[in-house]
């Protein structure tokens, strides 16, 4: 597949996800570009 073939599938899917994430109910979410880790006492191992 060429660039255009892939974009014709991926961009509509990315647009749909973008529309969903742009909804007001998700306004408080920030991008998780790098994870911040919990403190060790928050980690539970059974």
């Amino acid at each position: 597949m060429g660039v255009a073939d892939i974009l014709s599938v991926w961009v509509p899917a990315a647009n749909e996800l973008s529309r969903k994430m742009a909804e007001p109910r998700h306004r408080g979410l920030t991008p998780n570009v790098r994870f911040t880790h919990p403190l060790s006492e928050e980690v539970v191992e059974r």
Binding site: N15, S18, M21, V33, R34, F35, H37, E45
Partner: protein, 473 residues
């Protein structure tokens, strides 16, 4: 078959380690038997880019002397291990499966490489991989395709396809892979071996050629869960050289292996985990759940409201970040990339910044939903991928209804979820298709709770024998 009657290369890592510890076998013997197996198997599967025969024999000889003098370092001492070729190895070519880095000889090890060497492991070679880890087939245009030991006409998945095939073919006792969107778990599943993608930050990425910075991880691939936990003990933990490395203390990952699964709550998401997959995969994973229920684990149905959309988010992030890393080479050496990877890198430059950031915001949403769900379950279980190994070279796959689908999107159906959420996840063999191809299931755990994943996987392997079967090469 007893350990006494099998070839040494057929032993598990821990079986071999016991023989070394009790001086019944020397590291030199182990290295020689593995190198002979590599000679036998490589013409059929092409799992290695570089085999370090001479160096490995020299190191084995040195370790033999250490052990004879009483300097035993632990269960990796004298054990031949393979590394994916995107891990830096000091003084040894590290290509990342590319022509671009075809002559790259690092002056320093990756932290994972250094930790394995410090534990006494013998680096037997560098394994083949999808070029720059950007793809799931290991159909490498520069070093040739790796083939599946269970059927060399089939692919080993990827991108750590060489590591998966080498472990399955008994060319090493364990290997290191890297996993961004599924690249440890996918080849573990289709080659019938065990492999864990750790929590992001648990294992150092220092001096590993990146694919997508925000999702990259490295982890062990072995024949058994116990072997996997043993290797994990040596590579997990904070690394000041990796600024994304977590400061959370590590466990002894072998300590809880035998606690069983009584009372463990296993989450499943029925409308995602068990839809759109080939029937043998469905049946094998359902069968595995019944085995665990038979050991008094409880299966709990869970709804993850926003699980749909994860594949688009995965592809967007896994496109934009590599295209950023490769921007200079893509402009100066485009002819040195294979066609498929070059096209994907060009695609990554065409996506909008808002696509990328909305995908990253989606990760936050999906992670919140899983973390909340983990208040009621201890692990999730699902298939590793929805189909069995396809023919080498195929870029399309049929999952259901005779409809051809793009391989890259289809192969990430289940592995993308832990990748996006940063959760640890292990693939464990759980059956075979009617034509003898391995099937794997994923055990997904809470952040930094790899110990429970190992515990569940080990309990499953105590009740089944899928992981003991060998390909007939």
């Amino acid at each position: 078959m007893s350990t006494a009657t099998r070839g040494l290369h057929q032993h598990t890592l821990l079986q071999a380690a016991q023989l070394v510890e009790h001086r019944k076998v020397s590291p030199v013997e182990l290295t020689d038997t593995v190198l002979k197996q590599i000679e036998r198997a490589e013409p059929k599967i092409n799992a290695f880019i570089t085999v370090l025969a001479e160096q490995a024999r020299a190191v084995a000889k040195a370790h033999e002397g250490m052990i004879a003098a009483g300097y035993y370092l632990g269960p990796l001492h004298g054990i031949p291990i393979a590394l994916k070729d995107n891990l830096y190895t000091k003084g040894v070519r590290s290509t990342a499966g590319s022509k671009v880095l075809g002559d790259f000889v690092p002056e320093e090890d990756a932290t994972v490489t250094a930790r394995l060497k410090a534990a006494g492991a013998i680096i037997i070679g560098k394994t083949n991989m999808h070029e720059f880890a950007w793809g799931g087939t290991t159909d490498n245009p520069h070093y040739g395709p790796t083939r599946n030991p269970w059927d060399p006409r089939r692919f080993p998945a990827g991108s750590s396809g060489g590591s998966g095939a080498a472990v399955a073919a008994r060319e090493c006792f364990g290997a290191i892979g890297t996993d961004t969107g599924g690249s440890i778990r996918l080849p573990s599943a289709v080659n019938g071996v065990t492999g864990i993608r750790p929590t992001i930050g648990r294992v150092s990425n220092y001096n590993i050629v990146p694919l997508a910075w925000s999702m990259d991880t490295a982890g062990p691939m072995t024949r058994t869960v116990a072997d996997c936990a043993t290797m994990f003990n040596f590579i997990a933990g904070h690394d000041p050289k990796d600024e994304a490395s977590a400061r959370i203390p590590v466990s002894d990952y072998t300590a809880q292996l035998n606690r069983g699964v009584k009372g463990i709550r296993i989450g499943i998401v029925p409308d995602y985990f068990f839809t759109h997959l080939q029937p043998p995969v469905h049946d094998a994973v359902r069968g595995a759940l019944r085995v665990l229920e038979g050991q008094k684990a409880e299966v709990v149905e869970v709804e993850i409201a926003n699980i749909h959309g994860n594949i688009s988010a995965q592809l967007t992030i896994e496109s934009a970040e590599p295209s950023t890393y490769h921007q200079h080479w893509l402009r100066t050496r485009p002819q040195d990339y294979g066609d498929d990877v070059r096209v994907l890198l060009e695609v990554g430059e065409m996506l909008l910044a808002t696509h990328y950031l909305q995908a990253q915001r989606y990760r936050t949403l999906l992670r919140h939903e899983f973390v909340e769900a983990f208040e009621n379950v201890d692990v999730f279980i699902c298939p590793t991928l929805p189909f069995v190994a396809t023919p080498v070279g195929d870029m399309k796959v049929v999952i259901e209804g005779g409809k051809e689908e793009d391989m890259l999107s289809a192969i990430m159906q289940y592995t993308g979820v832990p990748s996006l959420t940063g959760l640890p996840s292990m693939s464990v063999p759980c059956g075979f298709s009617p034509d003898g191809l391995p099937i794997g299931m994923q055990i997904i755990g809470k952040p930094f709770d790899e110990a429970t994943i190992f515990r569940v996987g080990h309990a499953y392997q105590q009740a089944t024998d899928w992981h003991t079967r060998e390909p007939n090469l």
